[in-house]
Structures are given as C-alpha cells and as structure tokens.
Symmetry: C2
Subunit: 229 residues, 2 copies
C-alpha cells in the first residue's frame, strides 16, 4: 500500500462486528411465520422487494426492517394477518436491537497496532441510534479519532467525509466488506480500498464484478493488513 496513507477508515457492520447474520436469522423467523400464506423462499423475495422500495423513505436499520416485515405480512396475507402476528413481528425486530455485539477475529489487535501510526476513522451507514449503541457496546470507540454515521454510502458522502478530515484522497484508505458501499466509491474518488468479504452478504449489497485496480486489494482476514501497513 502507498506510503502516503495517513487516515484509515473502517466500515463497521460485518467488518468490525457481526451484523448480517442477525438480519438473516430474523428474516428466517419471519418467513417461517408466514408459511401459511407463501413458501419460505417467496416470502423472502417479497420482503427484499419491499425493503428495497422502502430504502429511500425509511433508510437502513432495524426500524425500517420491521416496517418492511409488517408491510410484507399485510401484503402477502391479503390483509388476513392478525394483530397478534404483527406484534410478534415487531418483537422479532425488538430482540434484534438487543443482540450482543460480537467483534470479529483480529479486529481489536489491528486497531490497537494501527492507532498510533494512523488516524483511525469508523465510517458506517445505517440508523444513528443503532450504530451508536453498537459502537458503545463494542468497546472499540477508544481507537477512533472520528466516527461518521452516514445515511447512505454514496461517493458524494465520502467526498464530504474526506474533505472534513482534511486529507487528499490518496492519503485515505477504506476497509470494508461491501464492494458497493465501501470499495467502489472510494476508488472513484482516488483513494485506496481493501475488501474483506464476509460470509453473509445482503442481496442488495451484492455486486457481480471482480475489481482490478492498482489501489485495491482483497484479503481474507483483517489481521492480514498488518503485513503491509
């Protein structure tokens, strides 16, 4: 990696801690509940459609996910879903908000070793309150110079973040699990990016293309970055 890198930004969900598996677990419970109306797989497809159409209005995060589950239930049951079942759906989401934060392997060692050599930033998208709570529960806040919670990880939002941090993009490295949200916008801006795929990825975040770029690297485990940083 380039010797000028001075700021390293880390994505949070599924890069620092596990997140997507909780969504998949909640979705499975929801699809099971809905099986009297539609097969599991079709419920899941319908939910994804409603989630994506709700993104511009409700954004990311668990409250938005709950509202999409409730709307999916009403739609696929043709209005026959009971208030009790809707209550159950809300409580699936509510439980999700209280799951423990499981830090991924190697994360704490990496942050501890890099914090004196670089300015470390956490850059995550999603719901403000949810992300703040996870950060506090993770105990990782102390490693970061700056925390940025974005409503969406678009190029222009990263542009603002990089200007705010007052570095040229060529001094900026982003590390994350989503090609779409963490890697492609940064390469567009002229920054460096490292992709660490996570075993579970939300359909909406999936990107087909393989990336071949001089400022891009793909690794298996976060601990590997210590070899070249």
């Amino acid at each position: 990696m380039h010797k000028d890198i001075s700021v390293i930004a880390f994505d949070a969900d599924d890069t620092l801690w596990s997140n997507e598996p909780y969504f998949r677990e909640a979705e499975d419970r929801f699809c099971d509940m809905m099986e009297e109306f539609l097969p599991h797989h079709d419920v899941s497809r319908e939910l994804l459609k409603i989630e994506i159409s709700n993104l511009p209005t409700f954004g990311y995060g668990i409250k938005s996910f709950i509202l999409s589950m409730v709307e999916t239930a009403i739609s696929i049951s043709d209005g026959r879903i009971s208030a009790q079942d809707i209550e159950k759906i809300i409580s699936i989401g509510r439980e999700q908000l209280h799951k423990p934060v499981e830090i991924l392997d190697g994360v704490e060692e990496v942050l501890a070793q890099l914090q004196n050599k670089y300015k470390l930033v956490m850059a995550t998208k999603g719901d403000l309150l949810e992300q703040e709570k996870k950060l506090i529960n993770s105990g990782l806040e102390k490693y970061f110079h700056h925390i940025e919670i974005l409503s969406e990880k678009k190029t222009e939002n990263y542009q603002k973040l990089i200007s705010h941090l007052d570095v040229p993009p060529t001094n900026f490295l982003m590390i994350g699990n989503s090609l779409k949200s963490d890697i492609i916008p940064i390469l567009e801006l002229g920054g460096y990016a490292i992709h660490i795929p996570f075993h579970t990825t939300w359909e909406y975040e999936k990107v087909d293309s393989e990336i071949d770029h001089p400022q891009f690297k793909k690794i298996e485990k976060i601990i590997e970055i210590l070899e070249f940083l």
Copy 2:
C-alpha cells in the same frame, strides 16, 4: 450577549422549520381512527406512554412514531385491530415523511446576516435520514459550517460537539425552542442559550421551570436576535 461568542448553533425542528404540528396532525388522525376502542384523549395519553417507553430502543423520528402507533393500536384494541387499519397507520407516518419543509418567519434573514460574522452550526436530534432530507429540502444547508445530528441532546453530546468545534463553551451560543434539549444542557456546560418558544410543544419536551440565568435570554421571534448579535 457576550462579545466572545464565535459559534452559534441552531436547533432545527420548530426553530428553523415547523415540525411538531405535523406530528400533532398525524396523532389526531390516529386518535380519530381509534375512537371505536377508546376516547380521543385516552388514545393520545396511551400513545405518549408507549412513545416514551420506546425512546431508548427506537429513538426519535417518524419510524419510531409509526411503530409506537402500531403498538398502541394493538394494545388498546386488545388485538382486535385489523391489518387494514395497521396499513392505514403506516401510511399516516409515510405521508408525514413527505410533508413540505416550512421555514419559519425570519430564519433565512437571520442566517444570511449572521453567516459572515459567526460560525453557524445546525444541531438537531432525531433520525439521520429524516433530518438530512429536511435540511436538503429547506435549502438552508449553505448557511452552515457544520451539521450535527444527535441521537439525543444530552449534556455529554453537546460537550463532544463543542470540543469538536474547538471553542470554549463561553464562545458558544445555542438557539432553540426546547428548554429541555436546547437550553438547560448548554447552560450547564457554561455556554449561552436563547429560547424561542414555539406554539406547539410535544408533552415529553415540556419543562415547568422558569429559567433565570445571566447567560440565558428568552425571545419571541428569531429576528430579534439581530438586535444584540
């Protein structure tokens, strides 16, 4: 006001633009819908109870408000509420998200006049996506040096904001409509605060006490601040 003031922070909802009336209008429609189960006033009281108990989990904003209305409806109907009515409740909230942003009288003149003399900041609590959208729709973004969206307006969060802005609290003035969220925490930190009451205040934000403090002022209209700033 003190001659050292260099940063002026403005609350947004019901200080820069109208917000609470939309919540009251949505609540009225919800209470009307629920009248077959409980009188209007009792529905409203039940909703407030559920909203407050949901704040630590769901936070502020419309998604949280929708979830509280749905839970209130299920609770007061003893599970007899229909899926169609729940759909209607969600659409009340959805409409609220698409209301126009009505800038309050004098706001634009004040921001335009102060922007070259002071560093202007917008400090609002609530949902990230909602507040960002309102800011963009308001057209007021250009006046602000910094935008801070807080999950909660607690003293420690203001402390972080003031440190981030790199000024002592005695150079910081906050202007807002809520004594609880905009005024009391700032006076505690040693800053200056101006209260501009709005005609509609959410029950939860109401504070009984009158404030008498050398760094505090109460005015009727935002335009008045130009007389002493």
